[in-house]
Symmetry: C2
């Protein structure tokens, strides 16, 4: 098996970083659009054959080093009893958003085998189809991010309605977040049992919270869900875009194996905030940089790898790949990572840049 | 005159910080909504009597220490020949967005006295009506932020179309940004001549750019516009939400008198990144914190003032006040600042926290 991802997540020596892309099974691929033309998004999520098909596409077509199961973070609130719609052009919505303590009390506990069995089936089917070519990543939304959607009813710029609950009715928010942490933790454990070899938690709306609210309403519940997944025995990646400042706190609270780095944070800054031997970093090319000419994509990708250094780096974008991206440009990114080699000269340069020579020397 | 704002911007001793709120002339005030019911937003901008009326409302009704002229950053692209619509619920749009070098070439040079004379008239009228009660702030959008709107056609989540231009056609982007820097600089100088005693540059879409693009496409043009305004002889405030990491670079490049701090950055972190004797800081209570009970608003406001310390702080929100905010809660914020006093004890605590005792001792 190509186990580069697992080795990088364990901060073991690798000759080049593994690479995958957030939203790699997506609309930028004509082959994905062909499947999507025949089924709506939620039907694809709920049909293991279709989910498996599009999950495998980027492995075959783009050559990434990991598969991530095709699904959506909002399947968990749906399993808790919220009606979810995913209309083309409008994005996901909960037409009856959750607003009161009574609304929170009405949410169902989640039995993943029951309400989310379709995703577990997709994981099992994909794992068999992969036949150990590359590792399979499962995922879930983190409690604050799911709560923000459930209260707001849809994605918004500021999540002011959800934040209003935090300030006006913090007890209701905590009750909701606690239910979500349990559901998400259970779901991740079930995903591991179904074959996920790595799991990623998406704290997609981390950036909607200031430091004090992040520490109160996001981090404890993120940590609870992440730790349950870790106990299930697989590496855990936490991605909290818009909260680069919180990177070291997230690593400490969640015991994650890797922290996702968005494109706002430079690799050097991310390294300054974390210890490469304690936690790996995943990221962080700006998805819009793939609009640049191929030679520029190659240059930026190489600069990024050099800056993250040789220990504990998973190459990725700093956000999801954009739907109108040219697949050749995505391949240029993947190829640039896969043709990288940590030569003596590059290792020396990384050592000099990191100011961590004695530690890097251990592995070089 | 209540010149607290001017003194704080010059980093002179003050017994308490001055306070105003971004979007203080806005929908949270029933008296604003009454004016707005009779005229659309652009008509209000273009009618000096109406702009003056709503500019004065928060001075009289909420008691802030500064007035900021009622207008919109998109009046500059409109003056350059772009058709602007501002429909209720949809937000500002350019129905014919700018995409090519030919589109950029067609933009008019701006004579502020001519195309933007209505805002200059509003400044003169407001200045007379204020009768030196509080200082009057003028403002403009910065070049990158205006360019992002002009290329995108509207506000979006990621500004991917505008960023695509930066990566695919950087020369076109630079030509556009250079025209905008000239227009914005001229406009700010004209605002000062019309009576603005302070100007603020809004780099509202700073957060759409990673560090490399921010340094290439935003900062040089922001600096050019800010420096022209500074030469006109008034203090300049630069607010670049979502780019807290760039605070010290912005201060150095623009020679701004103050940097706005968004609510993602803690006051302590902002102080760590800047020198209170070189540049003042403005901010940064999360506007959503005004949803909290009054006692909590008071507590958070006091914590914020203490954390920014006694030198060079202008109290404000970290983003615009929200339209559904209770005006009593806005007043609670203003009152909490205005009842603050820098006592010996509080000065001592600030000195201990800052680790800058010798410098703070100079003024205490």
């Amino acid at each position: 098996m190509n186990d580069l991802l697992l080795r990088a997540l364990r901060r073991e020596p690798v000759s080049r970083p593994p690479v995958w892309m957030m939203r790699q099974a997506g609309r930028y691929l004509p082959q994905y659009r062909a499947v999507r033309a025949g089924s709506d998004f939620l039907t694809m999520c709920r049909t293991p054959e279709l989910a498996t098909e599009v999950t495998l596409q980027p492995i075959d077509l783009v050559g990434v080093d990991a598969a991530i199961i095709f699904s959506d973070i909002l399947v968990v609130p749906e399993a808790m009893g919220m009606h979810l719609t995913l209309d083309e052009g409008v994005g996901p919505q909960f037409p009856s958003p959750l607003r009161t303590a009574a609304d929170v009390a009405k949410l169902h506990p989640v039995d993943p085998q029951d309400q989310l069995g379709y995703m577990l089936a997709a994981l099992r089917m994909t794992r068999r189809a992969l036949n150990d070519r590359v590792p399979l990543i499962g995922f879930a939304g983190s409690p604050w991010t799911l709560a923000a959607y459930m209260v707001e009813g849809k994605g918004t710029k500021q999540f002011a309605v959800a934040k209003k609950m935090l300030f006006e009715a913090p007890d209701v928010a905590h009750a909701l977040l606690d239910k979500l942490a349990t559901a998400v933790g259970d779901f991740l454990v079930a995903q591991v049992e179904a074959g996920a070899q790595v799991v990623q938690l998406f704290e997609s709306w981390a950036g909607a919270l200031g430091p004090q609210e992040f520490r109160t309403f996001a981090l404890p519940y993120l940590a609870k869900a992440a730790q349950r997944a870790r106990e299930a025995g697989v590496p855990v990646i936490v991605f909290a875009p818009g909260a680069g400042w919180a990177m070291s706190e997230i690593a400490a609270a969640t015991h994650a194996d890797a922290i996702g780095v968005d494109w706002h944070t430079t690799p050097h800054e991310a390294r300054r905030l974390t210890d490469p031997f304690s936690v790996a970093l995943q990221g962080n090319l700006d998805p819009c940089a793939l609009y640049a000419p191929v030679s520029e994509i190659q240059r930026r990708t190489r600069d990024m790898i050099q800056a993250f250094g040789p220990v504990g780096h998973v190459a990725n974008l700093g956000h999801g790949i954009l739907p109108d991206m040219n697949p050749d440009h995505a391949r240029a990114f993947i190829d640039a990572v896969q043709s990288w080699e940590w030569t003596e000269e590059r290792l020396d340069a990384a050592k000099r840049a990191s100011g961590r020579a004695p530690q890097l020397a251990e592995i070089a």
